[in-house]
Symmetry: C3
Subunit: 267 residues, 3 copies
């Protein structure tokens, strides 16, 4: 129950502070992640030109680097934004979309992680496994097969990278290298619209912007997003109406409801 | 009432002429501004390659330059499109998203305004104030704090730039440097989804495409968009369903309803 | 009835196989075409960096090249993806959005068609006519005027290009150079939201990924998408709710319903 109460408190802080979250993200989800950022109570800004990425990152309370449709120009912007965020003490949240699907993505993620101190990494199970050096098949950007033993994989990957790691799936796992927390919120319809992983990352950024400790911040975010998914699914007639309801529900959700509805367990 | 009747007439003309509006815009709102352009009765085309921007601009009845996720390549396309639009007598509508948030954006807007004759500039209050040389804080792309004395700021900025200026907010102000018109339509939910400012700019472009005088055209557009927002908000359960209803309402709205529902006042 | 039954079978195969479809597409429709790909039962991945386009194409079961907001960088990625897809036997589906609207688009399409073996081309009537060397007016990306004699134009264009050609409109025409099939499914609301042509192309790619013969694959796709449009339109209050319902309906549609509802006729 401690984690639930904490989740509610972090969410309340987002609503009060309305932190500015700078996204360098992919073209598929730019609109929906901006709307999710707004719905959860934060303020989104998108800017991916190398000429302004650092300046925007410095002004923000969190920076999202999402490689979903990465280009070399965007990579340059991410490096500039990430370094400046590190200098300014702004947390960087990395979403390694499709990690392992192409060598370009894998190399780019490695380069980002070697040059930039990342506060939280969020990926699906296969992406996180590949990131941690485990074997997993990543085809496209869907949650493909989920490797066995995710709790251990997430903890080990967190240790190796020295950052909080969150792997989302039917059960989400979040670890700081010591503890592993499980989030049991969510709904299968979340896999039927594009970009829900990216949306979860956006919520993590909003929460991490107001909470220094990445473990409760990421856990609160995944519980919040998953719980909103559950409520949105009730009454949805399919992925279209689910997506609409997801924004409605995220916007209406109150911190005390999250503290009630979150299903967080120590792994 | 004169402005209301005028608004209805301009909207009717958009529906009849179905003007082609060429957008060079940001990746966050590309889809929704295309849909808003369609819903209001015009025909959108998006094209941002420097290799074709001028040719597309020449074929259009209005050109939107929106710097929301500006890159150097897009800047080149905007310059080409803007110059060609000027040569061909096609009105250019500028949306200086995030003006003042980074020096890259500010410099780019200055360059666009110095090389291209712009018919209408639309921004939120802070962006317009910065554009006019007033002090205002622009953080991200949200409507931040609204400076005092907006009517005067809008009129003066219009005079300095020699273009019609529209500043949107709880009250919208539109000026041609002499008159200042206020539009009292709108709803707070318009601030809870991303890109509503950009959508308003798209509607201005559609109206300006069929009406030479930018003052009534921009005023009609903001009344139309704000009034649609009011109707859409009634019955919306949050930002998701609001956005869906906004397109439905814009599409169904009739010019005579706009003439009734517009709340335009001389400042 | 043979074509109807075939359509149902192909759709059932998509649902079973869940083929990975690699899209290099425009920023306006990236989100909605990914969601349509998911709703029909396939798995989308978007990747447009020249550094990874070939590798992603090789891993996919179909590749979509959509020039809606083409840039030179994207063109490079399309060439790399297309050539690699050809080597690997992965079918390439081309959507020549705005073909004829600018010389950049026309030249780019010609270059793609001369270097890459394309399995299916899908455009609106005017785009296909221009592609086939007929005179037609293309303004923007809307379905403009539909030239006379489309069945013959589609068959001849198919012959000249040596690929299956699909022209969508009030009636869709699909030809392999010998047969011309007509699809009478659809609804006018499909012309009131942006990107429905691109969505139809995405469905063709999903179907062609599991069916070697492009004629029944493209026909099944257009019947499926058009029939979903009909169902979605019933009860929609405008383009916003129509778009939401379109995803819901596509996701819920069963292969046997398609076999019943498809209206396919030999031309």
């Amino acid at each position: 129950m401690q984690w639930n109460a904490e989740a509610g408190k972090i969410m309340a802080r987002v609503r009060k502070v309305r932190p500015l979250v700078h996204h360098i993200t992919n073209v598929v989800v730019a609109n929906v992640t901006a709307n999710v950022t707004l719905a959860v109570g934060a303020s989104p800004v998108m800017a991916h030109a190398p000429e302004e990425a650092a300046e925007m990152a410095r002004a923000a309370k969190a920076v999202v680097l999402n490689i979903g449709t990465l280009t070399l120009g965007q990579m340059e912007a991410m490096m500039a934004a990430g370094r400046e965020a590190n200098r300014a003490g702004v947390p960087v949240i990395l979403d390694p979309v499709g990690m392992g699907a192409t060598s370009f993505r894998s190399r780019s993620v490695e380069r980002l992680l070697s040059d930039i101190k990342v506060a939280v990494v969020r990926g699906n199970a296969a992406e996180i496994a590949v990131l941690g050096g485990y074997s997993a098949r990543v085809a496209g950007v869907d949650a493909a097969s989920e490797p066995e033993g995710m709790p251990g994989i997430v903890r080990e990957t967190s240790r190796r990278l020295g950052t909080v790691v969150a792997a989302t799936g039917a059960i989400d796992y979040v670890s700081d290298g010591t503890l592993v927390l499980e989030v049991h919120n969510g709904h299968p319809l979340l896999t039927r619209i594009t970009g829900t992983g990216c949306m979860a990352t956006a919520v993590i950024a909003a929460m991490r912007a107001v909470e220094e400790d990445g473990l409760p911040a990421a856990t609160a975010a995944l519980a919040c997003f998953g719980y909103a998914g559950e409520i949105a699914a009730a009454g949805a007639r399919g992925p279209g109406s689910f997506q609409v309801r997801l924004l409605d529900v995220l916007h209406a959700l109150q911190p005390e409801e999250l503290a009630q509805g979150a299903r967080i367990a120590a792994g």
